[in-house]
């Protein structure tokens, strides 16, 4: 079976995330950089929407992005 580089990186990434999830992270007061607007998962929604629309119309794949997590963790 021929494994592509991106697939390998995805598997590695997934393994890294799952393995580290229990112990990784920062204290609630250490989220200054994560609170930055350009670090939000939802930053630039219209730009992503316009891009996704273009790629959806011209390619056979679409989507991928999720919707929750990260940020300042406030409240």
């Amino acid at each position: 079976m021929h494994i592509k580089l991106t697939n390998l990186l995805l598997i590695a990434g997934g393994a890294l995330l799952l393995n580290g999830c229990v112990s990784l992270g920062v204290k609630p007061w250490q989220r200054d950089l994560l609170a930055r607007e350009d670090m939000q998962l939802n930053a630039e929604p219209l730009t992503h929407q316009i891009d996704d629309h273009m790629y959806f119309s011209k390619e056979a794949s679409s989507g991928g992005r999720g919707f929750a997590g990260g940020g300042c963790g406030c409240n």
Binding site: G14, N42, P45, F56, A60, S61, F67, G73
Partner: protein
């Protein structure tokens, strides 16, 4: 009494004139659905750290232009969002897009001139015709005939379409650690109607360093192709068409977001979606080529009536002082045997005052062809085909995107950065792979033109 307004002359800021930095709601688009000419997209809003305040408005205007007189589109979008005092969120959006220009009809160039009728046509004669189909009578205006010169890519020059979409998304906190979201979208074009709903739930763990989310989407589309939906794999010249078609889809996404360290956030999403129903492009045909390279006829395309796609998406954001980066990768494969790899990188570079930024962007994409993709059909082959499509979007190609965005925050009278203006330019180029040389006379012709497009976008949010 909670947020009492102070008297005039007080030196302290009052709640009334306090400008709360507004966060806009998420309007993240999630994996989805449909790969035919019909456009269908789903967007779901969710509340994260947005704080309550007035309505926020995010707007954009995009102009898209393909080279070679192909499709041009204008797309204005406006999004209104608000976070309420109890943490609930709402986001409503209106999208309009207008497309025009010429679009490939799926046939191959030839060494001889070719004549086609626009989808509204029912014959290659320009006289109006009324014909009866299984669902009743279809009366057709005079066909718009177009002739393609030898060596030219067959393009329908009369392509135009307008779409209006409206969507609403709600977010509701369920305690400190959980958020529920739900939304709906309606999209209307004169030959296509799409309705979709979505619902999701997200739960934070580990002092909010880890977030697990799950989202479900359902979509129903109704197609009313201009001139009727052609009988799949039938002879183009017979113009055998029927009435409206439908398709529906279900999708789900499982997401994991993890704070890796103070500077690095990682997100992994796994999604599956399945569409069932009429998945053909009603406007596409396939050329039948003989060994000498001459076109002997055309057939309407035929695709399977179901398609299941699976994808894994991994995104990493990091921040260092005035820079922030976003690196993502996605792998997708489906039951049509298309598989694709995508990688994107954007770097945002702020000025020292953090009120201007420049953001270059690059994307690499590669996909393999669907197993029923074929640039043409051999005349010597069987006349009854299984699935076949010559739609370039199902072929093997790789694509590069290069983009640059500039943003500037505008300060209001109290020196708060209350609005932002942005301008973005993007270049997209698609290059076909595995280009099979045509037989006979077709050897000298360019059968795989690829695609080049420019996108210009301006945005304003306040």
């Amino acid at each position: 009494m909670q947020l009492k307004a102070r008297g005039a002359g007080a030196s302290r800021a009052t709640p009334a004139d306090m400008r709360i930095v507004r966060r806009r709601l998420i309007a993240a688009s999630c994996a989805l659905l449909g790969a035919t000419a019909a456009r269908s997209q789903d967007a779901t809003g969710a509340a994260s750290d947005a704080i309550s305040g007035d309505w926020s408005v995010d707007s954009a205007l995009a102009y898209y232009h393909e080279s070679g007189g192909r499709v041009s589109a204008v797309e204005p979008i406006v999004n209104f969002s608000k976070t309420f005092d109890d943490g609930r969120t709402f986001s409503g959006e209106l999208v309009f897009d207008s497309l025009s220009g010429s679009t490939p009809n799926g046939a191959l160039p030839s060494t001889k001139p070719q004549t086609f009728a626009s989808p509204s046509g029912s014959s290659l004669s320009s006289a109006p015709i009324t014909y009866t189909t299984s669902s009743g009578q279809l009366s057709v205006e005079g066909a718009r005939i177009y002739t393609i010169n030898p060596g030219q890519q067959p393009m329908d020059p009369h392509y135009h379409d307008q779409r209006l979409a409206i969507s609403g998304n709600w977010g509701m906190p369920l305690g400190r650690l959980t958020t529920a979201t739900y939304g709906g979208k309606l999209s209307y074009e004169h030959d296509f109607l799409s309705a979709s709903v979505s619902a999701g739930i997200a739960r934070a763990f580990n002092e909010k360093n880890t977030t697990l989310s799950f989202q479900l989407n359902n979509e129903f589309d109704k197609l009313n192709p201009i001139g009727g939906a052609p009988l799949a794999a039938s002879d183009y010249a017979l113009f055998k068409k029927t009435g409206g078609k439908t398709k529906d889809g279900v999708g789900m996404m499982l997401g994991l977001t993890q704070v890796m360290n103070r500077r690095w956030l990682s997100e992994l999403n796994v999604s599956v979606d399945r569409f069932h129903g009429y998945l053909n492009d009603p406007y596409k045909i396939i050329s039948i080529i003989d060994p000498a390279g001459d076109t002997t006829g055309y057939l309407y395309e035929k695709r399977p009536s179901s398609r299941t796609r699976k994808s894994v998406y991994w995104d990493n954001r990091a921040a260092w002082g005035r820079l922030s980066t976003d690196l993502s990768m996605r792998y997708m494969f489906d039951t049509w045997r298309v598989h694709s790899d995508t990688a994107t990188l954007s770097v945002r570079w702020w000025n020292p005052d953090r009120d201007r930024f420049l953001e270059p962007y690059v994307r690499w994409y590669r996909q393999s062809a669907a197993d029923f993709y074929t640039p043409w059909l051999d005349s010597t082959g069987s006349r009854s085909i299984g699935y076949a499509s010559s739609d370039a979007r199902l072929g093997a190609f790789h694509a590069f995107t290069y983009g640059l965005k500039y943003g500037a925050k505008i300060r209001d009278s109290t020196d708060h950065m209350s609005s932002e203006f942005s301008i973005r330019v993007l270049y997209y180029r698609q290059t076909p792979d595995h280009r099979l040389a045509g037989p006979g006379a077709l050897q000298g012709l360019d059968l795989y033109p690829g695609l080049e497009a420019l996108l210009l976008q301006v945005g304003y949010k306040f």
